[in-house]
Symmetry: C2
């Protein structure tokens, strides 16, 4: 006598969580240094010092009633003003404070935006490979997730994209830097997506919104890598941002939705976002964390560990003969199963106490995701195991 | 081209917010000391010192990655253990840690529980007068809110209650101490509700759950006032708790849902709650705040100001001839409009710069709600205005 769909969602852990829990048990059995857990995308670099300094300062010196009181539902006006200026200064897009809605992280930004824009039966598109919760979030508002194929560089297959847009398409999710592949969409890809959507909008006579899921925006490792700001290429754009990864504060749940003022019906979209936040029970984003990000905006955790890990892991695995996608960003390495069977690859690695995630649930069968947000020491210590796995597959002698 | 229901929810402010915003404008016009704003239920007493001390201590001394990292979706196991023990020690109910699910406040607890238990078309009952957002939260999962009448003491009208229970009734919301009336349901009322439900459950052959909305549990002012713990009277009970009012931290969004292990299908209910939290985009409750309430559980803000305000306001208004409901708890005084017209009462008071909320949206026409969570100085200064209003109504000479 409960909602069976919800019960299933609660009982069936995501594949990632399942492997993460296995690792916990296995570590207890054979010692935590002997298990190489690459399952989960939890930042391994602490928050920059300014985060904890700001928290301590606010607790000691800020007016307690304001610090811990309700902000307006869309977030504190001053904080939203600071974010507006940051977007303007850094991305060249003008998003007024009143087009910004503070959220409990990017996940809330996504569920709120989807509920604001979709009616039951509408379609939400996502480019494979994608974060499996997009399907759960779409289902929450009765929408259907439509996966789009990727090409051999794991960029959107534009022909497949265009062919799958229907009169029901309301939202296209763009997640770059990408979880799980680490790929960053170049400007040409963003332009191509925009161009297809401009055409299709005319054909169907109504807007299709791009929803940018951007928790990894700052996590890029080569100077040449640019992460285009999609609003500058396509008017009907909403950005769901989170400080989870940039400030290493995923547990604190703080982010925002920014609605491009140039978007069609942007005032209505913003109002619907306010309504959806109310409907889902969010009330306001955590108030003290709003004041923390006001002071810490623009700061980023020390990313050098992730870069070191990426270079070491990508370099070694390709040297051992594995076929890896070069990750420009995020903290994931996407690797092809040597014989195309990701589950067999997973089981083989598991025997060597190396745990990563088969990417079938990310709509990318034949791949696995290695979350390298661990210590560099752990990366170094796991390399002999990867070498053994490569030998078993006959990639090296 | 947006979800029109959400747009409406976003555009049409609640009556409370509307009056609150009017007060802001009016204060700017005539000076903030000249406007008596009793519109909003924002705690006026700061958090107890231990809250900010704990925050500063955690920021300085706790492992940053753990403090700000994802907890498990249902909340940190140790924190849930502390809450479990607190419930046992204080209310005599045994709720294991694995029946507790940490939430972003009570609102999230309500939307999550409703989504977990209801299917579209199911019915959620609430006893008038009630918090208007219950209707919004019920609608979120497609359920219909069924209001139940109150008697002249603003306690549930048991005959109306019994007659309105149908095969579709899934949830009965119990909110005591009550927003907006300040009434605390005595043990006899809880027993009567339980008895009706036991009978109706048998009749329909399936469970009906009581959902306790308890942000005001600790806000009672007379030693004799007991707030019964509903689980001890009725097995099929879930409690949505929030530290918003007890610790004066409404902006920080921290609370929990506790599922009685004796409830029918309690494991399924808990799983569905985990699933619903995932579906709505909550991920986990704010992590640092979980560790804050772990240390601060059992502490309460200084309630003496609220008690002083209540005594002063209730005493004076009844002396002036107003018909007031004696508020055992919360920080609201419920007053009958002298001629039964709450909107006229509102307009009359507004001319004297006294702003309270007509209770029509709380399903209690003819009443107004006065939120006395202000300074005692403000209460004292507003009394002459109330005296003038009483004169206008001819209650005194």
């Amino acid at each position: 006598m409960v909602n069976e769909e919800m019960k299933k969602l609660g009982n069936v852990r995501s594949v990632i969580r399942e492997i993460f829990e296995y690792c916990k048990v296995r570590k207890a059995e054979i010692g935590k240094d002997n298990v190489f857990d690459f399952s989960i995308g939890n930042p391994s670099v602490p928050a920059p010092a300014i985060v904890n300094e700001t928290i301590a300062d606010l607790a000691a010196n800020y007016d307690s009633i304001e610090l811990h009181g309700y902000t307006s539902a869309q977030g504190d006006a001053r904080v939203r003003g600071v974010i507006s200026k940051y977007i303007s200064d850094n991305f060249g897009a003008e998003v007024p404070a009143n087009n910004i809605y503070m959220t409990c992280g990017a996940a809330a930004g996504l569920t709120i935006s989807m509920k604001a824009l979709c009616l039951p039966g509408d379609e939400v598109m996502a480019f494979a490979p994608f974060f499996p919760e997009y399907k759960v979030f779409s289902a929450n508002c009765g929408a259907v997730l439509v996966p789009v194929k990727s090409d051999d560089k794991l960029l959107p297959d534009m022909a497949d994209f265009e062919s799958k847009i229907t009169d029901k398409t309301r939202i296209v999710v763009v997640n770059s830097p990408n979880n799980p592949s680490g790929v960053v969409y170049p400007e040409s890809t963003i332009k191509a997506i925009a161009s297809v959507l401009e055409k299709k909008q005319k054909e169907y006579g109504h807007p299709v919104y791009i929803l940018c899921d951007e928790p990894y925006r700052e996590l890029v490792y080569d100077k040449a890598t640019k992460v285009p700001y999609v609003m500058n290429y396509y008017d009907n754009t909403l950005v769901c941002y989170s400080w989870s990864k940039s400030l290493s504060i995923p547990g604190d749940r703080i982010g925002y939705v920014a609605v491009n003022p140039k978007a069609a019906d942007s005032a209505d979209v913003y109002a619907a976002i306010c309504g959806a936040g109310r409907s889902l029970g969010f009330v306001c984003a955590p108030s003290m964390m709003q004041f923390v990000v006001e002071k810490c905006i623009g700061h980023v955790s020390d990313l050098s560990v992730y870069k070191t890990n990426r270079d070491l892991l990508y370099g070694s695995l390709t040297e051992y003969g594995f076929d890896c996608v070069y990750p420009d960003g995020a903290f994931y390495l996407f690797v092809k199963a040597p014989d195309g069977d990701s589950k067999k690859f997973f089981e083989t690695a598991k025997k060597h106490e190396v745990l990563f995630v088969p990417a079938d649930s990310f709509a990318a069968p034949g791949y696995v995701r290695i979350a390298y947000c661990v210590t560099t020491e752990q990366i170094k210590r796991c390399l002999p195991a990867f070498k053994e796995i490569a030998k078993e597959y006959g990639l090296i002698k």
